[in-house]
């Protein structure tokens, strides 16, 4: 009996005018657009420079800053108050004010003074922008020092050189970090939303009435509903893998087997959650809104953009109940660190727990008579 029900689900899915296209289009759009848009890097910070010194060293500093990819020299102003206007009008994000006698002080072996004023409306842009600028300035200072003091003397004075090594993602490529997480989002959207709309669409079409008077059992019914989403999820995920490898040259350090294994469990968990919403909803609109609400919250607390560890303690407790979080950890660990199933046991247990919980509840909540 299960076989026929599954066959019917597939027929309906394939004959749908829109869904098969969505399964192909969604991974493409997510992987083509999101890695560029969902970026941590701050680029093109508009800079307004007030050069009160007009010396060789101050203009060399300006050139250095303008040459950086992070900054765009938006304007030069004659005074601080003029520069402030450009911040107020939104033309500039940071003012770099070079104090008078900047060069003179430096030449005398004193301190050349520079002031930074940052627009902090967008906190990330402000703090990262000023950090970039600070590192540029310290670079410049080191440059000047090495020019003026002969190398042996520097060695005699002694200095600290920083040599950071970044593990797993040596070039700090944010795409390598985001793309595995975006695939989680992809699976969640496809395998969470579609089941949420499925049972309720049978309610709206009235077909559930006819099915309810048959001997089809609850578990059979739910299993038949779940099966197609495995296939849908695997297809979308495979397209995602291919695109990530082709476009961004990002392939998992670990095995695809581990990823597919975890995906199978995750799809089960999230589809069960979708079916649960569906069996409690009376109309498509209701199911749609509910699913949207939950998926939004789950995505935001999953660590997709902000690391879970930087959330407040109470929010971290909430994320314990977020299956997205665990699957996102799995994807990032397999992709970047090359973890295997043995390294991911806590996540495995959590995801299995969610799968059992949501599907048991969905099965129990589907009532054939009222």
């Amino acid at each position: 009996m299960l076989k026929f029900l599954i066959e019917k689900e597939f027929k309906q899915l394939l004959r749908h005018s829109f869904l098969p296209k969505l399964v192909i289009a969604m991974p493409c759009i997510i992987l083509l657009v999101f890695p560029w848009v969902a970026s941590y890097e701050v680029k093109n910070v508009s800079l307004c420079v007030v050069d009160n010194d007009h010396s060789t060293l101050s203009s060399r500093l300006m050139q250095k800053v303008a040459a950086s990819a992070h900054f765009r020299l938006a304007a030069t102003a004659s005074g601080y108050s003029r520069a402030m206007q450009s911040i107020e009008s939104g033309d500039a994000d940071i003012i770099l004010e070079i104090q008078p006698s900047f060069e003179e002080q430096l030449m005398r072996g004193g301190e050349g003074q520079v002031m930074l004023s940052v627009n902090a409306v967008n906190g990330v842009k402000g703090s990262l922008g000023s950090a970039y600028l600070l590192s540029l300035l310290s670079d410049y200072a080191a440059e000047l020092r090495s020019e003026r003091i002969p190398a042996p003397a520097v060695a005699a004075v002694g200095s600290i050189r920083l040599l950071p090594t970044y593990f797993f993602n040596p070039r700090l490529n944010y795409k390598a970090y985001m793309i595995p997480a975006l695939m989680v989002l992809l699976l969640t959207l496809l395998c969470g939303f579609l089941p949420a709309l499925n049972i309720v669409s049978e309610k709206e079409a009235g077909t559930i009435e006819q099915l309810n008077v048959t001997p089809v059992g609850k578990l059979t019914f739910i299993l038949a509903k779940l099966t197609p989403y495995w296939l849908v999820g695997f297809i979308a995920l495979s397209i995602g893998f291919a695109l990530a490898a082709l476009l961004y040259h990002i392939t998992p350090a670990g095995s695809f087997g581990t990823i597919y294994f975890f995906s199978a469990i995750y799809i089960l968990a999230i589809s069960g959650f979708g079916l649960l919403i569906s069996s409690y909803s009376d109309a498509m609109q209701q199911a749609m809104l509910l699913a949207f609400f939950f998926i939004m919250i789950l995505a935001l607390t999953s660590g997709l953009f902000t690391p879970v560890s930087s959330m407040p303690q109470w929010a971290q407790y909430i994320t314990v109940f977020n299956p997205l979080k665990y699957f996102m950890q799995v994807m990032r660990m397999v992709y970047l660190k090359g973890s295997g199933i043995g390294d991911l046991l806590p996540q495995l247990i959590a995801l299995c727990g969610f799968a059992v919980f949501s599907n048991t509840w969905a099965t129990l909540s589907y009532k054939k008579s009222k």
Partner: protein, 305 residues
Amino acid sequence: MKALSVNNVSRSYGKVQALKNVSFEVEQGELFGLIGPDGAGKTTLIRILATLLLADSGRATVDGLDAVRDYRAIRRRVGYMPGRFSLYQDLSVEENLNFFASIFNATVRESYHLIQGIYRQIEPFKSRRAGKLSGGMKQKLALCCALIHKPSLLFLDEPTTGVDPVSRREFWDMLASLRQQGITIVVSTPYMDEALRCDRIALMKEGGCLKIETPQNIIRQFPHTLWSVQGDPMYRLLKDLRRHEDVISSFAFGDAHHVAVRSERITTLQLEENLKMLDYKNVEVKEITPTVEDCYMQLTMDNEQ
């Protein structure tokens, strides 16, 4: 064993009481009609019998099986056709049929003799999607699907609502032939003229049964003499008839008024004269046999008094 037995079944939706202490029995092989306007409780009753709805109180048995406790066994032996078309519109005629057969662990071949007469009419369109069929054909397909597992009892909820008159007649012919094959059929309809095609009917109103009888007996038991009265203008005529001292009741029935009279005190000719004096034109009064609808109106009135 009765095919169906309903004892004091009640059901409410919030404050609205949809069924009030309904009791009746249906014999094996009977074609039983639930007749009444919208809101009479027909659908609620059928859904309770089809194990889709639980009654608040009372007990119902289907083929001797309890509608609550033995719902699984009942679902195997009843066929149900909801009022709204509820087959898969994106599957073809043939696929729908095969699907419903297979979930009952049956095959179309096993029950082909049962649906043959009906299925032949839609067979030319068997590869067409169910959603693309005409209204009458949808009903035929739905009936086929309800019969595919050889049920001993068939519940049909307003199968002829929204179907053209020719298809309606055809549909009742199909039910008659199914009945001859020994299937018990419970069918609801708001069309009073269809009542005559049933063996027995329950006239329902506001959640209760006014009367359960054969349609012939219901007509025979009409307590008054019934006349059909025509005359221009019709609307004023209805009011004047209701005011007439020898008239018991008067209802508008299409192009004529059906009037129950005290025939011991007045004749058709006398009434005609009376009306002509009141300045009516084209007056025509003649005795008629009551229809089920006349009986329904009469019973409703008696019930209210």
